[in-house]
Amino acid sequence: MLQAQKKHARFLFMFIFPAFIIYTVFMLLPILNSMKYSLYSGDGLIPDTFVGLDNYVKLFTEERYFSKFWNALGNNIKFFLIVTFIQNILGFFMAVFVTRSFKGNKFMRKLSFLPTTLSVLVVGFIFKLILNPYYGVFDKVLEAVGLGKFIIPWLGDPRSALIIVSIAVSWQFFGESVLFYSSGIDGIDDSILEAARIDGANIWHEIIHIILPSVLPIVGIVTILIFIGDFTQFDIVYAMTGYRGDPGYSTDLMGSLFYRTAFATTERGGWGTGMGAAVATMMFIIVTLGVGILLAFFNKKKEDMTK
């Protein structure tokens, strides 16, 4: 018995060890290093003066820093909510739709996944072209169908810019959640659904009483993945509205804030590497806390459902 356990442990070790080393060298150490730098200040890329918690104190007590930080966090929360709505809720219904049996459902599945294969920068660029107020095709289409009076400078208006950026990201990764959900739905035993139908369940009953409880763990995974992705999102802002999150920081997310503060020169919005590292550490804390909360929430839900 003991021998078997030992063998089992060794076997596990062999699987975990390479990943552990790679993870430590390329993830854990840089994170710890970055946290260390958040306690330092200085001009160069590697800050050299130890200042203790000074960077954090500045970040939360000086208006010039905290106004940008809270702004980016607020934008990021809105961004997450919009993306979650589109990807999770619409993605779920799309998955229910493509798992019904009809002609072309396989094609629809593939089609929804296609944008995911593009790079975020390319997606941003395409959206920027389509929405360009001068030669963009979107405004022209609106005009053609008589909706010309609703046209606004989509990416130049603080009221619409963040929503557009969220839609662009959601569009790209929409297929991923469809994929997750449809594989979950595919996994449900057909006989259960059939039995329900015989008992007179309509599509709503099916979704609420059978599909949703079965794919609940997937809802958790998808939401957590979206959360992590959104709170570290940088490329889409960079591609669509610049690293300042124009207009007027209305699309500035935690990722773009971090990039700007850590790597830009002071005259272009940089705060120095030390302050940048402090922002990065805050991002790490937010993501860790967020994931923890979401995990607890979905685990609790799962327990409630299985009770």
């Binding site: 160069g44 920027k128 107020p133 130049g156 610049g242 919005g269």
Partner: protein
């Protein structure tokens, strides 16, 4: 355990392969044709590769053992990349540096050569330009390479159509705008999606005649003036007067789009910098493009001309080839280089002393205003942008909000002044 050993071995091999790939990148500068030494030259101007290669091939002709490898990095990533490469010890040998604090920050990382004794020629350069790349105790760390001016480009054919002359005063300028608008033209190609142009070109260029140019800028830096003073507010009000002449939905028009609008002949005017000559040349040719300096407040005023210190060239202290680098440095400071540079890159004006002939007509026109003007640089570029929030960021943001009708000109100036509280 055999498997563990083997997986460790595989990992080591992978790691080694990875590190060799990195090393390959580093060795790039020492590889070359036989005995030739390769010096890496970096800048934020990716559009100049061919032009810089043509300039540098002249140098290699004169110094056959030295090859210059021009490797620019995208503008928005340049500063981060430069800092990283210098910190990692793989920085380029020859380095484009921005003026004042951002170049100074690179100097403070202790990676640039001090040029005072190495390059006595520097004392003949314009002192204001030298000061833009020197420490407070006058240690020079870059050759002032190029300055740029800000003014207004226009379409000759559109002006001709309405019988318009180049405006000299603001009133005439407004009349031109009004006539063009009444004729149904897109007056300016300007958009406000990217805010830096609003400050760097418009406020610093066209505003200078109203806030008082260099003298006012000095007063701002010496803390004897504030951004909320009447003259700075007046300049802001003048910027606001231009808004009715922007294209529809200008808030969504970014820098590249506005260049395209003007460059393809779809707008009558474009407030821009001299560096755009090449861009307009590529977009639709220069035959129809004219230029005039920022209009004066009153007839008879002296032009306050924003002649901005744009690029200096510094040298990596830790270069592997100090001797060859010195040879190139001397050449960079020579009038031969300056003439080649201005021919290849019209709109960039060299600071190197000497008499030159400009081959490009627009560049000639831009330069023709210099003699009768007081030169100045961008309003809050020096000192006032050394900390967060920088003056540069603040003015850009303030004007963007003003054009979004969120702030009045007065409030916009107050916004800048509040943001600069760290300076006062």
């Amino acid at each position: 355990m055999e498997l563990v050993k083997r997986s460790i071995l595989t990992m080591l091999v992978l790691l080694l392969a990875g590190s060799m790939a990195f090393a390959g990148g580093q060795q790039g500068s020492s590889e070359g044709d036989g005995e030739k030494v390769k010096l890496v030259f970096t800048s934020w101007r990716t559009e100049d590769i061919e032009r810089m290669n043509r300039i540098n091939s002249q140098f290699t002709k004169e110094n056959p053992n030295i090859v210059i490898d021009f490797q620019p990095v995208k503008d928005t990533e340049y500063d981060a990349q430069l800092k990283q490469s210098l910190a990692a010890g793989v920085g380029a040998d020859i380095i484009f540096l921005r003026s004042y604090d951002s170049g100074y920050q690179i100097y403070k990382t202790d990676s640039l050569m001090e040029l005072n004794s190495m390059l006595p020629e520097l004392k003949d350069f314009p002192s204001a330009a030298v000061a833009a790349w020197a420490t407070p105790d006058k240690v020079s760390y870059a050759i002032p390479a190029a300055g740029v001016v800000h003014g207004v480009y226009y379409r000759k054919s559109i002006f001709d159509k309405y019988g318009l002359k180049v405006p000299a005063t603001w009133d005439e300028f407004m009349t031109v705008c009004e006539t063009l608008k009444a004729g149904g033209e897109t007056v300016f190609a300007q958009g406000t999606k990217d805010n830096w142009m609003l400050y760097e070109v418009m406020y610093s260029g066209l505003g200078a005649n109203f806030y008082g140019g260099e003298e006012a800028r000095q007063a701002l830096m010496n803390k004897t003036a504030r951004f909320t003073d009447d003259n700075f507010v007046l300049a802001m009000e003048k910027m606001k007067e231009l808004q009715p002449y922007f294209p529809e939905r200008f808030e969504g028009i970014d820098y590249v789009t506005m260049q395209q609008i003007f460059g393809t002949g779809n707008a009558a005017m474009f407030m821009g910098g001299s560096w755009e000559i090449g861009i307009f040349e590529d977009l639709g040719g220069l035959d129809d493009v004219g230029y005039f300096a920022p209009p004066l407040a009153e007839k008879g005023d002296t032009l306050q001309y924003c002649f901005h210190v744009d690029a200096g060239i510094g040298f990596n202290k830790n270069t592997k080839y100090p001797e060859e680098l010195k040879t190139y440095m001397k050449w960079l400071a020579s009038s031969e280089y300056a003439q080649l540079y201005m021919n290849e890159l019209p709109g960039f004006f060299s600071y190197t002393p000497g008499s030159y002939t400009l081959s490009n007509d627009l560049a000639k026109q831009m330069q023709s205003y210099v003699a009768k003007s007081v030169p100045t640089v961008r309003t809050v570029w020096e000192k006032l942008s050394a900390q967060a929030p920088s003056g540069n960021e603040l003015v850009g943001e303030a004007i963007q909000m003003m054009y979004a009708n969120e702030l009045t000109p007065e409030e916009a100036c107050k916004f800048v002044d509040d943001g600069l509280s760290w300076y006062y």
